[in-house]
Symmetry: C2
Subunit: 218 residues, 2 copies
């Protein structure tokens, strides 16, 4: 059994497809953390349902802390930047927290692996998407978890970490992933804004993969 | 400014006293994770108030996962054991999760240190109380957090890690910590049960420190 951290976006949905092929059955884990794009939770539910996976939604309100455009409506979601700086959509310790909760759920449920759809090549400057972070996290978790101490650790798998977005789209199409059910936009409107970092990356990926985005009206 | 992970028990309250002396002002962070001894949250509020600290309570329901006597009322809290095995009161990934959230809050609030009252000498077999775990966690967090990447990491401090419980009691008394406000019992009754692991360790500590427990009626 495997656990997949499922946001409802493109990357985590392709992770679901890979985990379903290689390491099912699946438990999907989503976070309701006060993100302004909570609409992604509905997308996650749809993707989990498609894969007949149990879907757990953990509520963890990060909005009281401040400090991120994704959780603080007083900070505007900016247009894309290529400055190389950490963007304002960074949420302090987000993947550290998500992975930690995922490891706890995985151990409690008896899952052998945790899939996380991080993507280092075009990672938009988030430090907690880098492979060196994931490796260090694995080492820490192996010392914290009963399963690690007992010699059969829960493995963190990041199969997309070295892939570009266009290759992720192609892989998802090859695996028959329900990309039409996914949601990427950082803004929380009724339809994708088309201008935020996440929308721009997604559009470029489908363009490079030479295929229309099935989640857009056409 | 420092953040203290505050359960409302003896160890975390002595951490508050140390942090108040060395690295104030303080933010106290408690978790409402479905623990059957939720009464400790009231104790934490009292201790935070004593130190004039802001008190944040993060709700994160771990009860749906199962697997621990502390969150699953169908598993009995056992009498103390000295088998060296990980006890049933172990909660999967608890300190991993608590530290991760604490680092996120610390970064968002601008705190330079996170205090955690883990105690490795008489740690009852919890793997996530060991110094090797804390060191590995620090390494992972430094790679995940913006502050770590920017060269001024949030420091995890575990000042009690090499101390025995009696020395912790003595230190708390020396520092004038409000030990009368603390709560240790794993069972959630109106008064401490006196027989669980945590009660037995606490009673032995006050006995060894040759002082009555100010939280007990006398």
């Amino acid at each position: 059994m495997s656990l997949v951290v499922l946001s409802g976006g493109l990357d985590s949905t392709v992770c679901m497809a890979l985990a379903s092929r290689d390491a099912g059955p699946l438990v999907a884990l989503s976070f309701d953390y006060g993100q302004r794009h909570r609409v992604e939770l509905g997308a996650a539910a749809g993707v989990a349902s498609w894969y007949r996976a149990e879907h757990l939604v953990v509520a963890l309100d990060l909005t009281g802390w401040g400090g991120s455009a994704l959780t603080d409506s007083s900070i505007d979601v900016p247009p894309p930047s290529s400055s190389g700086e950490i963007p304002v959509t960074y949420v302090p310790a987000r993947n550290l927290i998500f992975l930690s909760v995922a490891m706890g759920v995985a151990e409690a449920r008896g899952a052998d692996a945790v899939y996380l759809g991080v993507n280092a090549l075009d990672y938009s400057g988030y430090p907690d998407c880098r492979p060196e972070f994931v490796a260090a996290f694995q080492a820490a978790a192996d010392l914290a978890l009963k399963r690690g101490v007992e010699g059969h650790p829960v493995e963190v798998r990041t199969p997309l970490v070295a892939m570009g977005k266009a290759d992720i789209v192609r892989l998802g199409l090859d695996l028959g992933a329900p990309l039409d059910l996914t949601w990427s936009c950082y803004r929380g409107g009724d339809s994708p804004c088309g201008t935020c970092d996440s929308c721009v990356l997604r559009a470029a990926a489908f363009a490079a993969a030479d295929t229309p985005d099935p989640a857009l009206p056409h």
